[in-house]
């Protein structure tokens, strides 16, 4: 069994939230070992781990208990990515000493320096809202400033959220089940005057290049894109995604009502580059 990361008695400044959905045990063991290595690394912040299990299965629950995971919350339904993280985020920031929440994907591996580098980047920012770890071995092609590391939006794979951001703009938009909720949170952060950035020295190993595209994955992506377009004034983008959805399922896509986007929102949204949501570097 992998080394697990028990909660510490000292009040942590960081809570790491992991949302689970039928993840392989070996994958989780590797994540835990990598977090333990990060904990042992000089400069890493004190942290506590919280899990939310979206699998809703007694069988999977036994697996997690066998693994010795601490602090797992079990939902009665699959809440999706954003809502589950919101539950964990709310709990994390209810403790006064917690300054940061880290959304962390369960299929990732943390570099030993990642946590300290995320905080180092946050310390360089005027009003830190979000800081994402750079994905490794292949980073996302969206751009970032080579000096300040500011970026149009942050991926939720390993995303540091500041208390101030949470208290000002809230967590993820719960209308989104999966995908694009990180883009939405990033744009809300920028529209509210927060800095968001990528930390190029904070490595998170997360590789999806060899995964076959799944039908359900694609539908969720299209649905989220259509909603994002409607909410942020990318009407053409939204209509195109709704058309795709209908072509694939034979049914029209029903989207929840959203208020018209404000000027500040329109100022940060970018729909000219499909799902990259920014001009890609390659």
């Amino acid at each position: 069994m992998a080394a697990t990361v028990p909660p510490t008695s000292e009040a942590p400044e960081l809570v790491i939230g992991v949302v689970l959905f039928w993840n392989e045990t070996a994958e989780l063991e590797r994540l835990l070992v990598s977090l333990e290595q990060a904990r042992l690394t000089a400069g890493s912040p004190r942290f506590r781990l919280e899990f939310w299990d979206n699998s809703c299965s007694p069988e999977y629950r036994i697996r997690l208990e066998t693994l010795g995971l601490h602090s797992v919350s079990y939902g009665s339904e699959n809440l999706g990515f954003g809502r589950a993280h919101n539950r964990l985020m709310a709990r994390a920031f209810s403790a006064p000493g917690v300054r940061w929440y880290l959304c962390l994907n369960p299929d990732a591996v943390v570099h030993p320096d990642m946590l300290s580098e995320l905080l180092r980047q946050a310390a360089r920012m005027n009003r830190p809202g979000l800081v994402e770890a750079i994905q490794f071995p292949v980073e996302h092609p969206k751009p970032y400033d080579a000096v300040t590391h500011a970026t149009p939006w942050c991926s939720g794979c390993a995303l540091l959220v500041s208390r101030e951001l949470y208290e000002t703009v809230g967590g993820y938009d719960e209308q989104i089940f999966l995908y694009c909720e990180d883009v939405d949170l990033s744009w809300r952060a920028r529209a509210s005057g927060f800095d968001i950035a990528l930390a190029p020295q904070a490595l998170i190993h997360h590789y999806t290049g060899d995964r076959p595209p799944g039908g359900r994955t694609r539908l969720e992506m299209i649905r989220a894109g259509a909603y994002l377009g409607q909410k942020w004034g990318g009407i053409d983008f939204s209509v195109a995604r709704q058309g795709e959805y209908e072509a694939l399922t034979g049914e029209p896509l029903k989207l929840p009502e959203t208020p018209p986007p404000t000027e500040a929102m329109r100022g940060v949204a970018e729909f000219g580059h499909m799902f990259h949501f920014a001009k890609a570097r390659w």
Binding site: A3, R30, V33, S34, E36, Q37, V109, H111, P112, F136, P137, V138, E139, P141, A146, V147, P200, Q201, L203, H205, Y207, G209, D210, R281, W282
Partner: protein
């Protein structure tokens, strides 16, 4: 060295190997007549060198003699000279029915005996011969000899001389490679590259394939370098679950080829791969390659690679500006690989159990393209398997001149120097690889040629397509050299060539 033809020549050749004034006792010549099969002929009080020539004993007889020698004091030396039964000349003579097996030992058999008795090889000298030995046409014999030498370098030696020393420790059975183990050989030149190396090791730690061994060979002369490198490997070990070792091969000059060869020697795995300290592999890379090797009868496989270009940032970081696929790395095409290297050193895995006596080695006389020479030597005898599909490794290119290739460096002097060095290296590469014989069926040649012609046709307008140009050249050549055949063909093919001839004047 050319093989001495007479016994006195051999003695002279052997004597030349020793320090002047060495005491050499020839105890058996030309056929160990003075020695009994039990080794009783060996002197009771060892002299510094004992020389034996042309052993004509059976394996068990020689084994007894070597066993006796293994009990002598450490300073003793035994020199044995013998004709190599596995030389290219003897193999070809045997295959062409021109002689019977006249020598009892191949180089490999002799070395196995030496190893089995725990003896140390102090010196090994090979004597070659370029004389034609069969009735075969000269170029055919040369080509066959070349093929044999590529498969086993010792076939070049007609006659061999071994200087042996007794074992320092008790003989140990030779260890084979660990089945299923993948050894990744990494090379490091300096501790200034620790950040790059850290990323490379992190990518190994996340590999899906297990069991994994990392052999990191460093030429760094800096104090504490081995400890620093060990600390990096130790740091990621809990994630990767690999075993590791750091091997120090200090040198002030660039010995990048030697580092890999030393790594191969230390590697325990059935499978070997190479990862430079500034490149990375994706999680499924080795699993995919080894699975494909296991499913096939090939000795090695390579995967497509992508290139990533980095610019230095003001804070000393690296900013990726571009990623793209390494051209042609999705398939094996002999002609293109012979033209330039698209099989980067971290793109492949070799199964050493399928190479026979061939030992993969980087070319130590080169510090640029040293891997390419090995790839060509390997490819000549062992056709690789190309996995195709998506890239599973990344070749990282920086703009600060720290790669061996030139990429957008603003330092003109540096760029000029690297360019000049590459020119010299390429000339040397070509000298080394031009004589290589390649195992290829005619069917493969035709397939590759057709593919090349189709590509050329597709890229050209129809009148200038390669196939038309080839027809034109053939037609003109036929007309000038063999006009009577040209006329016959014209009458058969009808008007088309006539029209063409009249058009061309």
């Amino acid at each position: 060295m050319t093989a001495p033809s007479t016994l006195s020549d051999r003695k002279a050749a052997i004597a030349a190997q020793f320090e002047p004034g060495s005491q050499v006792e020839v105890i058996a010549a030309p056929s160990w007549a003075g020695l009994s099969p039990s080794g009783a002929g060996l002197p009771d009080m060892p002299v510094s060198q004992v020389l034996a020539l042309d052993p004509a004993w059976s394996r068990s007889e020689l084994e007894r003699c070597l066993k006796r020698f293994s009990t002598w004091p450490e300073s003793s030396r035994l020199v044995i000279g013998f004709p190599n039964a596995g030389s290219a000349s003897r193999i070809l003579q045997l295959l062409s029915g021109e002689s019977e097996m006249s020598a009892p030992w191949t180089d490999l058999q002799f070395r196995e005996l030496v190893q089995a008795n725990g003896l140390t090889v102090v010196t090994r000298k090979g004597f070659t011969s370029s004389d034609s030995v069969t009735q075969l046409a000269g170029h055919t014999e040369r080509a066959l000899r070349q093929l044999l030498v590529q498969l086993n370098e010792a076939t070049a030696d007609e006659w061999l001389l071994y200087q042996l020393a007794p074992p320092r420790e008790r003989p140990q059975a030779p260890e084979g490679w660990v089945p299923g183990l993948l050894s990744v050989v990494m090379r490091n030149h300096s501790t200034s590259r620790l950040k790059l190396l850290d990323h490379a090791i992190f990518s190994l730690a996340a590999q899906a394939y297990r069991p994994l061994e990392i052999v990191l060979v460093t030429q760094s002369c800096e104090p504490g370098a081995v400890d620093q490198l060990g600390a990096l490997l130790r740091r990621h070990q809990p994630i990767g679950g690999y075993t590791w070792k750091v091997v120090s091969e200090p040198s002030s000059r660039d010995i990048r080829a030697r580092l890999v060869n030393v790594g191969f020697e230390h590697a325990r795995g059935q499978y070997v791969a190479i990862l430079d300290d500034d490149d990375v592999v994706f999680p499924q890379h080795y699993q995919r390659l080894i699975q494909r090797i296991r499913e096939s009868d090939r000795a090695w496989a390579f995967a497509p690679v992508q290139r990533a270009y980095f610019k230095s940032t003001p804070s000393g970081g690296l900013y990726c500006t571009l990623r793209n696929m390494m051209p042609r790395s999705d398939a094996f095409r002999l002609a293109e690989l012979a033209y330039d290297n698209y099989v980067t050193c971290h793109s492949y895995v070799i199964d050493r159990t399928r190479l026979g006596t061939f030992r993969p080695r980087f070319e130590e006389s080169l510090d640029k393209g040293e891997d390419y020479v090995m790839v060509l030597r390997l490819m000549a005898l062992f056709e690789p398997l190309a996995t195709g599909g998506v890239p599973s490794a990344e070749y990282r290119i920086r703009d600060n001149g720290s790669n061996t290739i030139i990429h957008e460096t603003s330092d003109g002097v540096l760029a000029q120097r690297i360019k000049k060095e590459w020119g010299i290296a390429i000339a040397r590469q070509q000298d080394l690889t031009r004589p290589l014989q390649v195992l290829l069926t005619l069917g493969q040649v035709v397939q590759e040629a057709r593919s090349g012609i189709d590509q050329a046709d597709a890229a050209s307008s129809p009148p200038n397509a390669l196939r038309y140009r080839l027809v034109e050249v053939a037609n003109a050549s036929l007309k000038s050299k063999l006009p009577w055949i040209h006329s016959s063909l014209k009458s058969i093919l009808g008007t088309r060539l006539e029209e063409k001839d009249s058009r061309d004047g």
